[in-house]
């Protein structure tokens, strides 16, 4: 077993894991943060997307030991402490950017990262930027609308509620 320590949504967490434990399993099974979903199990669908040190990452394609020392944000960590939704969550709500909701946690996390990484987004670049997140319900149009609403609203910062280093 290996000891890992990382900050999850601003709280320092310590775990004993097998090296082969995937980050998504550590989050879901050990920390009971089940907002992060498992979809394809093959790095394709993006349902398991979280932020690692502020950047989107597929938590099914990282070992938990690789995240030792990292700052991780899951969907549970993006709303304010008082429950006010993150601007991306609010935009998904307002634009009806979900139907069954299974892809939504990963889609929101990927979208938060996308808006931070690419200051100038348009319809095409949002679609290209979300290639790694599959939605089988919406046809993507309303997801693109939601992301563009945030990208153009100036509400994209502060995009990370937990800055790197906090909790260490």
């Amino acid at each position: 077993m290996e000891s890992v320590k990382f900050a999850v949504n601003g709280t320092e967490r310590s775990l004993e894991v097998e090296p082969r434990t995937l980050l998504v399993h550590a989050l879901r099974d050990e920390l009971r943060l089940t907002g992060t979903n498992i979809g394809c199990d093959s790095s394709s669908c993006g349902a398991c997307t979280v932020l690692v040190d502020g950047q989107s990452a597929k938590s099914c394609t990282m070992f938990a030991v690789q995240a030792d020392g990292a700052d991780i944000t899951t969907i549970e960590g993006v709303a304010d402490a008082d429950g006010k939704m993150h601007p991306m969550q609010q935009a998904f709500h307002e634009h009806h950017a979900l139907q069954c909701g299974y892809c939504t946690p990963g889609m929101v996390m990927a979208a938060i990262s996308l808006v931070e990484e690419y200051p100038e987004l348009d319809d095409h670049s949002v679609r290209h930027g979300l290639e790694g997140n599959l939605c089988r319900c919406t046809g993507y149009q309303n997801i693109v609308n939601a992301v563009l609403a945030v990208a153009g609203s100036g509400s994209a910062t502060p995009i990370r509620p937990y800055q790197s280093g906090q909790g260490e």
Binding site: P19, R20, S43, K58, F63, V65, Q66, H128, G129
Partner: protein
């Protein structure tokens, strides 16, 4: 699926990684971004018993330029290539191809050294590096050695790296000539069914997924050098090649795609 069990070692330096590889022989694999290796381990296509994590070697994450040569640390991530102002200025093809790898989450983790060492003939960056005539620097127990990209890819997922060697740097010449990269696939984020990289106005041409390794299209390069048109040069792009047949395309269709996309890439790179 859950990967098979393995022992996990964190490398403190490239030299430490090399010594760990030497200790464990061919049962050990280096883990960088993990975005090729971990999926293979999850499908149990790979089951190394020791993983040596080099992903924390931040001193191998850099893009520098000196005397017309760009040096890129092996642990530089695809997203760092994509957003590099230095590459945008001095080797835009590399930045542009990096931006087409996988999706943003993959690019945040995947590394240049990792994708070269993985030597997947369907990957984008190995072909780009090949067309650019890069030099790959490998560190082993006896020190560093330089491997020309044209000598690096030796077989299907096989490279010239020894079991106890690690890529530490990739060097490319600052590139001013016309370039283009064509990537054909049916689904977003997929590997190329066929891809074509053209560097230096057609002096360097390479093909993706047209054989067991990324391939240098030397017949096309020779035709361009002799003054052939883009159409005439592209006509020989698939000559003598034995591309794979799979669910996406059979060999004949791949040959057709190679000719079509070579012509498009040559034209976009400025070959008349």
């Amino acid at each position: 699926m859950i990967p098979a069990s393995f022992d996990y070692e964190v490398a403190e330096s490239a030299e430490h990684a090399v010594s760990l590889l030497a200790d464990h022989g061919d049962e050990a694999k280096l883990l960088a971004g993990g975005h090729s290796l971990i999926p293979m381990m999850r499908f149990r296509l790979a089951a190394p018993t020791v993983l040596v994590d080099v992903g924390r070697l931040d001193d191998l994450r850099y893009i520098n330029s000196a005397n017309g040569t760009i040096s890129i640390g092996a642990l530089t991530r695809h997203s760092e290539l994509e957003h590099s102002a230095l590459l945008a200025e001095s080797c835009p093809m590399l930045a542009s191809v990096a931006a087409l790898v996988g999706d943003p989450a993959v690019r945040h983790r995947g590394t240049l050294g990792g994708t070269l060492a993985h030597s997947d003939p369907a990957s984008d960056l190995p072909a780009a590096v090949l067309a650019l005539g890069a030099t790959i620097v490998a560190r082993g127990p006896g020190g560093d050695r330089e491997i020309a990209a044209t000598d690096f890819f030796t077989g299907y997922f096989e490279s010239a790296l020894a079991d106890d060697e690690m890529i530490v740097e990739v060097r490319v010449a600052a590139s001013a000539g016309g370039w283009n990269y064509q990537k054909f696939n049916r689904r977003a984020q997929d590997w190329a069914i066929v891809g074509v990289a053209v560097a230096e106005g057609g002096a360097g041409v390479s093909l993706v997924n047209m054989g067991a390794t990324p391939l240098r299209a030397s017949a096309v390069e020779a035709a361009v050098a002799a003054g052939a048109s883009a159409g005439d040069a592209a006509a020989v792009a698939a000559d003598g090649l034995q591309p794979p047949t799979d669910l996406n395309a059979d060999a004949d269709y791949r040959r057709h795609l190679a000719r079509v996309f070579t012509q498009r890439a040559l034209k976009a790179a400025g070959v008349a």
